[in-house]
């Protein structure tokens, strides 16, 4: 608000002054200045906050990877922002319907909106804010922050609770203490640490790993580890991991595609603390009147939380391999392409002549290609490309379309 002192027009009669017009205009300088200052602040403050590259002792890439491996942060709490942009075709509601359908969660028969399997697939697209807290192997909490609601997954000793505040529904399962460790290792990747470990598994001689300076993440000094495929043809451009200089814990994980543009996966702490979280964080009693869904033992053996179904990365490909005959891995390193036969014989009805409307629709999502393998359709996302041939063979990999076609021809 304007200060009192500048108020010199107390009566209505002075407007005839010759300089009045200019003074009138001069007053509008105030709101314009306020707006300008605000715009400058919004534009500059993040830039200034990012500019500081902290001073940390030099370290080699090998030492840094060792540091990550040795890091055993048991207690932490923080806020994680996760942005995924896989470049899936935008099908609106259909997409999420397919996703939840694929994992058997959410709206399925007997399903509860508090069931973890359905809820955590939401992370596969868009931007989400998560809260994580951990106190040793027995107590963890993961919360998915939504508009005026929250989905919490709480593991405290023997109990695993899922609580969806929007519908006031509760999911409950019990685990054996011995089982718990294994189970916590099976959780889908949500924190930068999970993603970093997956990425570092892939490090071999086809990969270049280097330390690329330092950065500030969530107010902490961190090293930047950059992992890049040496070969061309991969859709993975680079993986950048910010590693906390003190504890060795990955704080931020960014996967940029080789085609450029925004990151495919960007997971990072926006706030982190390594103090012991308040014990009440992990306490949960179902609120009065909440609908509680008990997860029985048989269900879990069958579905195993749905966690294994959502495993991403190499592991899930291996799991998938068991279920499919004739799976072959073509190529090496980052350019590995998985090839298998669906056994369908006819492949997808992508041609106009076969599938009618549906065929045309599926065909329009992919690109038609020809090669030694016959005719096929390439379905592209920003990270994963898949080629489905007319005779039902499928080639999948994190490689570009050209490299995929080449691999398919070589593998034929």
């Amino acid at each position: 608000m304007a200060p009192y002192e500048s108020d010199d027009t107390t009566t209505a009669g002075e407007v005839e002054e010759p300089r009045a017009g200019r003074r009138k205009a001069a007053r509008y300088v105030v709101p314009v200045t306020v707006m300008g200052v605000a715009a400058a602040t919004i534009g500059l403050v993040p830039a200034l906050a990012d500019s500081g590259d902290p001073d940390l002792p030099d370290i080699t890439a090998a030492q840094l990877i060792e540091k990550i491996a040795q890091s055993d942060v048991e207690r932490l709490s923080g806020t994680v922002k996760i942005t995924t942009d896989l470049g899936l075709p935008n099908l609106g509601g259909l997409e999420s319907g397919l996703l939840s359908g694929a994992t058997g969660g959410g709206d399925g028969e007997g399903g509860s909106s508090a069931d973890p399997s359905g809820r955590l697939t939401e992370l596969a697209s868009g931007t989400h804010t998560l809260r994580v807290a951990a106190d040793g192997p027995d107590r963890q909490k993961l919360s998915l922050l939504e508009n005026a609601a929250e989905y919490s997954l709480i593991h405290n000793g023997k109990d695993v609770w899922g609580y969806d505040s929007a519908s006031n529904e509760v999911y409950h399962a019990t685990v054996d203490e011995a089982d718990a460790k294994e189970r916590s290792a099976q959780q889908p990747p949500a924190t930068p640490k999970d993603f970093a470990e997956e990425a570092l598994k892939a490090v071999d001689d086809t990969t270049s790993v280097k330390v690329d300076g330092t950065a500030q993440v969530a107010g902490r000094d961190a090293y930047r580890l950059v992992v890049e495929p040496k070969q061309s043809g991969s859709t993975v451009g680079a993986v950048s991991i910010a590693v906390d200089g003190e504890t060795g814990m990955p704080l931020k994980f960014t996967l940029t595609p080789s085609s450029g543009g925004s990151a495919v996966v960007d997971v990072g702490f926006t706030k982190v603390s390594f103090d012991r979280p308040d014990a009440s964080t992990f306490e949960f009693t179902p609120p009065k009147g909440a609908k509680v869904t008990e997860d029985t033992e048989q269900d879990r053996d069958h579905g195993d939380f749905g966690f294994d179904k959502q495993q991403r990365g190499p592991k899930s490909e291996e799991d998938l391999a068991k279920g499919l005959d004739g799976l072959r891995m073509l190529g090496e390193g980052w350019n590995t392409v998985a090839a298998f036969d669906t056994g369908a014989g006819a492949g997808l009805p992508t041609g106009e002549e076969v599938g009618g409307d549906l065929g045309g629709f599926l065909g329009s999502l992919g690109d038609q290609v020809k090669g030694d393998f016959g005719k096929g359709t390439v379905f592209s996302t920003r990270l994963v490309n898949a080629l489905i041939t007319e005779d039902g063979k499928v080639y999948v990999g994190t490689v570009t379309k050209d490299a995929l076609v080449k691999a398919a021809e070589a593998g034929k």
Binding site: A12, P31, S280
Partner: protein
């Protein structure tokens, strides 16, 4: 107008005088039938929501499966949640509309009725008069929010059980702490309306017609709400005054998630500064003919 009695001879107004002006302004605003009717409508919203939820869940089922306004599924278990639901239901439209009406009328209404001239005869200065007007609208923001909250609390206590409550993060807090958070939420909701109030006041200085100013304020409100729904304009969304309104629900997380709350308050302060100073620039240079 009782203000005529308070005209003092001294050129520099004393602080007490400003207080008097403020008190008069409050009295005229809150005595209007229009203001009372607006507050009455606001008080009726929680009653309607409460009765609807009560009838809907009368057969023992718990509230709907996640549909409807925020927190609605929890009301049957704890009446305090009616306060949050009522605020979440009124904040997008009813509350800002009421504020837009009062703010839009603040200057333009006086100009239209021909009473603005008499106000300016007093040596209070236009800036001071404008500040008083804005302060009055701010008081109305708070009063309107509290009317909704108190009415919701009363209805909630009558129709539903009260007691310890579960935060949306799944932790439990005592009823006392829940009340404290409800009060905090009411204050945040009132503060969320300051941007609309400043915008309404600015519009009010542009015209001599109270109706036109009210209609423009409410029209702008609706426009902004629609813009906020269009995904293609997402780059613009963080600058729309209504974008972070529902962040008040973050106070019900444990620990409280402050990011959007502070963004909301900062945005309201920015709107108040920009449109407040624009209103000042306009009002202090305007020809008052009526």
């Amino acid at each position: 107008m009782s203000r005529a009695e308070t005209v003092s001879v001294s050129v520099r107004p004393r602080p007490l005088w400003t207080l008097g002006l403020f008190r008069d302004e409050l009295r005229t605003t809150f005595r209007r039938w229009r203001t009372l009717a607006l507050l009455g409508v606001l008080a009726a919203v929680p009653v309607l929501v409460g009765i609807a939820v009560r009838i809907e869940t009368g057969d023992g089922s718990s509230g709907g499966g996640g549909g409807g306004p925020a927190f609605v599924s929890q009301i049957t278990n704890n009446g305090l949640f009616l306060v949050f639901t009522a605020l979440a239901a009124t904040l997008p439209f009813f509350l800002p509309m009421a504020v837009g009406v009062i703010a839009g009328d603040a200057v333009a209404g006086e100009a239209g009725a021909g009473t603005l001239r008499y106000l300016l005869v007093a040596p209070s200065g236009r800036t001071r008069l404008l500040l008083t007007k804005y302060a009055t609208v701010m008081v109305f923001c708070l009063a309107a929010t509290l009317v909704v909250a108190v009415s919701a609390l009363a209805v909630g206590a009558l129709l539903f059980p009260l007691g310890d409550l579960t935060t949306i993060s799944g932790t439990r807090i005592t009823f006392g702490e829940g009340l404290l958070r409800a009060l905090l939420i009411a204050l945040v909701v009132a503060a969320s309306l300051l941007g609309v109030a400043a915008l309404g006041l600015f519009v009010s200085t542009l015209t001599n017609s109270g109706i036109a100013a009210m209609a423009t304020s409410v029209g702008l409100l609706i426009t902004v709400q629609i813009l906020d729904q269009i995904p293609q304009l997402h780059a613009l969304h963080p600058y729309l005054f209504s974008h972070y309104w529902l962040s008040f629900a973050d106070l019900m997380r444990e620990p409280v998630h402050w990011d959007d709350l502070t963004r909301n308050l900062g945005l309201q302060a920015l709107y108040a500064a920009v449109f407040g100073s624009a209103a000042w620039a306009r009002f202090t240079t305007k020809d008052v003919t009526a």
